[in-house]
């Protein structure tokens, strides 16, 4: 039932609006709205009940295990939420004077320092509002760097075929052309192919390491050398940073710029689709290019950077200061982890992934890269099951929902057929992993004996499989009273 269907003309949540209703007699009629919008006319109880019940139709980390590759769905500590929502933080205006924001600025300054340390970069800017914006600012900085050196021809961005879709999309957003290179059989980038594409037009390469196929690219130093020697820069997609936190740093690998997904590695909530945060880190030569503002310490106090402190800045990426509340949550999380905790993230995320990988292999599943260590994630391919039983990755994914597990990422990376990309994260207990293996085994058995069962899944959720074709062909993107039954 839609919230609009609870509406009745004249009904409302009286406590929520001002009791006054002054005339706006100084605004000429021509500017005034003629017909009121059809927002729901409902009571406060109806709103609370509707959205409480609706929430119960969701899977979430607070209710389910999400072995969702590349998304790092780990526990979001409740303290991060509670403390980021203290009244002093919530009520601070973004354009308020620095004198009235020293608490917030101190947190941001400390967070910049922490992120700089864990990534091994020379500078950090917190303003990008999600991974994709972090990517944008990274590629924009690379371009601006070349431009600033009069190197105007460099407009090619090299991207491995396994990369996240945001990588090529970002390159386009920045006015660059995309050159794709293949992934080798062992999961590492094909260096020969790389050598072939680099040249005087190379602006840079976008990489994640560990890569999206779930392995650490062992030839990263060679790659960095090839790119740097060709005059290009290296961009690190931080989506997979959780795998190596405290173990190896992008700055040390030779990357010039990195974005971090704080909503992955630093455990801020995914919120059903955001907000994220895509803070970036840069090497010394890119510091003048960072998007601003950043927070600067001066004496005992803190202030925003001045324009002249980021002389070649690619500019401003949000009206105000990025997703400030998300940054507060990341800061609180980082401080609770601390130095030792930060290192354990990579360790236990890797332990969980390797354990789960081994257990699934033992249970008869095929791995995409059976000879490699898993990083924080790994790939199972159901090519054999698709061929033998006619059940595909989607069927497994949907059936897993019935077993109480969110589906792994499926059909990504595109180069592995019928793949499930599985990332358990460090916050899940061994018995959750064992339970997931049991479910996979049970589904495999169902697939062998009763494939139709899998095709019909899920059975236990609020809806069965949805008609996506109808959704796209008969676009219905908004409720209209006129269309209601």
């Amino acid at each position: 039932m839609m919230i609009f269907e609870h509406a009745r003309q004249g009904r409302r949540a009286y406590a929520q609006a001002p009791q006054e209703y002054p005339a706006m007699d100084d605004i000429p009629e021509a500017f005034r709205r003629r017909e009121a919008p059809e927002l729901p006319a409902v009571s406060e109880l109806q709103v609370v009940r509707h959205y409480t019940r609706l929430s119960q139709k969701n899977f979430s980390i607070d209710t389910h295990f999400y072995p969702l590759g590349s998304c790092t769905m780990k526990y979001n500590p409740r303290a991060c939420n509670t403390l980021a929502m203290l009244p002093g933080f919530l009520s601070r205006h973004p354009l308020g004077p620095e004198s009235h924001g020293q608490g917030f600025l101190a947190c941001m300054h400390d967070l910049q320092d922490i992120l700089q340390e864990v990534t091994g970069m020379a500078g950090v800017s917190l303003t990008p509002m999600a991974g994709a914006q972090g990517e944008f600012s990274g590629v924009a900085m690379i371009r601006a760097y070349h431009e600033s050196r009069g190197d105007h021809e460099r407009d090619e961005i090299i991207v491995p075929d396994a990369a996240h879709g945001t990588n090529p999309a970002t390159a386009t957003m920045c006015g660059c052309k995309v050159r794709e290179i293949p992934t080798g059989k062992d999961g590492d980038v094909d260096l020969d192919a790389l050598r072939e594409v680099v040249g005087p037009k190379t602006a840079g390469i976008m990489l994640t390491n560990p890569s999206t196929v779930g392995v650490f690219d062992r030839k990263i130093e060679d790659m960095a050398k090839i790119i740097h020697e060709a005059g290009g820069l290296l961009y690190y997609d931080g989506a997979n940073l959780n795998a190596i936190l405290g173990k190896v740093r992008p700055g040390d690998m030779g990357f010039d710029v990195i974005h971090m997904n704080l909503h992955k590695t630093f455990s801020t909530p995914h919120g059903g689709g955001g907000p994220g945060s895509g803070a970036i880190g840069v090497s010394e030569r890119l510091k003048p290019f960072m998007p601003g503002p950043v927070v600067v310490k001066e004496g005992e106090g803190f202030r925003w950077s001045k324009d002249e402190e980021l002389p070649n800045s690619i500019g401003r990426l949000s009206a105000f200061m990025g997703n400030a509340g998300v940054l507060l949550r990341a800061y609180i999380y980082a401080r609770m982890l601390g130095r030792e905790g930060m290192q354990r993230v990579g360790e236990y995320a890797t332990l969980n992934a390797n354990y789960l990988m081994v257990k699934l292999r033992e249970a008869g599943f095929d791995l995409a890269y059976p000879d490699r260590r898993a990083s924080h994630e790994f790939i199972v391919t159901l090519k054999r099951q698709a061929k033998e039983d006619g059940v595909i990755a989607t069927d497994y994914a949907k059936r897993l929902l019935d077993y109480g597990y969110h589906a792994p990422t499926m059909y990504f990376p595109l180069l592995v057929p019928e793949c499930l990309l599985i990332e358990p994260t460090e916050t899940e207990a061994k018995e959750e992993l064992d339970g997931f293996v049991e479910a996979m085994v049970a589904i495999k058995r169902e697939g062998e004996t009763d494939p139709a069962k899998l095709k019909g899944a899920p059975y236990t959720l609020p809806v069965k499989r949805l008609d996506d074709v109808k959704a796209a062909k008969q676009l219905d993107l908004a409720w209209r009273k006129a269309n209601a039954a």
Partner: protein, 457 residues
């Protein structure tokens, strides 16, 4: 080990199952030369109690002044139910709703958001949010270039009365694809953009025209005339609006003969706290015919295998994870949780509630302008209609006056000197429904005191 559940025994069992001796060994594919073994720059771990105390201390330093700054971020009352529900784990800690069957809560909510937003704006289609109002304008500019196939110029006319920070962000983002943004000046006495300023471009190949309503100064623009002019000249119209205003001000879907083609706005006033500037969310709406050029996510209503109503992400082929370098934008994660809050906010307020918020906010700003105008050397800067925000002009240095007011616990507005030096000692002020008549008197008194002590320019 905060947030790690592993016991020593389990670690042993897991290592045995993998067939390694130690966790360390799992990193053996990483070249030794790259490995680190400490992070000396990260401070020691704090317990929740310790960080809690630290954050309480820091929060106590911030945000306790009486705030009369607007300028794109507005203090409104947020019903308690909004965040009590929004932060329920099922919304807060859920993933993007790609697995539709396990995400009907979020999906239906977004569909309801799209429905409310199109009602509020009188536009055909709303997406599921962008990052903020400023980036929404950047995306709208790129979208206009894709959508207006007849125009080759990539030229977009942008009034100077659009929020300066929006213009900066739009340049930074859309500028990377070589869009040509041309400024259109405003009338000094009115604080709004005369049609004649657009007409100076008559006959040019114009891809789109941006129209803010209310504009950055709070002034109302002649949106109908400008919209019609733009359409007559083959340009698309991109509206930039404040959603609160739409409860009482003509919405962009109804501007001129045909309405705006694309509309953006900052969603923050709809139930999102000021919070130092984010997370907020960007509103993006458009006409039906432009839907396939839209960036960002869309939720559609459909049916399941039993014919039961359900909701799913749709038109995904526009997006980066399918279309990669050909996508309409690189945006992936957007501001879902803020949309959750805004949807609950709009449901709680309804059309009448939102109109009351708008009307009282406007009333308060009028009262503020009237009250300060009683003081010597203080005047309204413009004489045109405005909504809930306006510019006042002082006879002495605005920055010093504001600093002195802040010391007395009143954030008196935003100095316009850096962005609009031609306006002299001007400050942009806004009072919303959260301010009482006493607060306004207190503002006037503090300003009066301060004027007595700050020397005239």
């Amino acid at each position: 080990m905060p947030f790690i559940p592993h016991t020593e025994n389990e670690v042993r069992e897991m290592l045995d199952a993998i067939g390694v001796e130690s966790i360390e060994q799992l990193f053996d594919e990483i070249p030794d030369s790259l490995r680190i073994h400490d992070l000396p720059g990260v401070p020691d771990s704090l317990s929740e109690m310790a960080i809690s105390r630290l954050m309480h201390e820091r929060a106590a330093q911030d945000g306790h002044a009486s705030c009369f700054i607007g300028a794109g971020a507005y203090e409104h009352h947020i019903p308690a139910a909004v965040w009590e529900i929004t932060t329920r784990g099922e919304y807060y800690s859920a993933y993007t709703p790609y697995q539709a069957e396990a995400s009907q809560g979020t999906l239906q909510l977004i569909y309801e958001y799209q429905s409310m937003m199109t009602e509020l704006t009188a536009m055909d289609v709303s997406n599921a949010s962008l990052y903020d109002g400023a980036t929404a304008l950047a995306e709208a500019s790129l979208m206009a270039v894709r959508a207006n196939r007849k125009s080759k110029s990539r030229k977009i006319l942008v009034p100077r009365s659009v929020h300066p920070l929006y213009r900066q962000v739009t340049q930074a983002i859309a500028g990377a694809q070589e869009l040509d943004f041309q400024s259109v000046d405003f009338e000094r006495e009115k604080g709004s953009t005369p049609l004649s300023a657009f007409k100076a471009h008559e006959g040019e190949d114009i891809t789109a025209v941006v129209i803010p309503q209310p504009n950055f100064f709070g002034s109302l623009e002649e949106v109908d005339a400008i919209t019609d002019w733009a359409h007559e000249n083959g340009a698309l119209v991109i509206a930039v609006v404040n959603p609160t205003s739409l409860a009482v001000i003509e919405p962009p879907g109804n501007w001129g003969e045909k309405g705006a083609d694309i509309m953006v706005g900052e969603g923050q006033p709809l139930g999102v706290p000021l919070s130092s500037g984010g997370p907020y969310f960007g509103i993006l709406c458009c006409s039906q015919k432009l839907v396939r050029q839209m960036p960002g996510r869309l939720v559609g209503r459909t049916v399941d295998e039993d014919g039961k109503e359900g909701f799913t992400l749709t038109l995904q082929p526009r997006e980066q994870h399918i279309r990669r370098s050909k996508a309409t934008s690189n945006i992936c994660t957007n501001q879902g949780l803020m949309v959750t809050a805004a949807t609950i906010y709009m449901a709680l307020l309804g059309a009448e509630g939102l109109a009351r918020v708008a009307a009282v906010s406007h009333q308060r700003t009028r009262q503020l302008r009237d009250a300060v105008s009683e003081l010597n050397g203080v005047n309204g800067a413009f004489d045109s209609p405005y909504f809930h925000e306006t510019v006042i002009r002082l006879d002495r240095p605005a920055d010093k006056v504001l600093d002195a007011m802040a010391e007395r616990g009143v954030l008196g507005g935003l100095s316009l000197k850096d962005w609009y030096p031609e306006l002299g000692e001007a400050i942009l002020v806004c009072a919303t429904e959260t301010k009482t008549e006493d607060d306004i008197r207190a503002y006037r008194d503090v300003l009066g005191e301060v004027l007595a002590s700050v020397k005239a320019a």
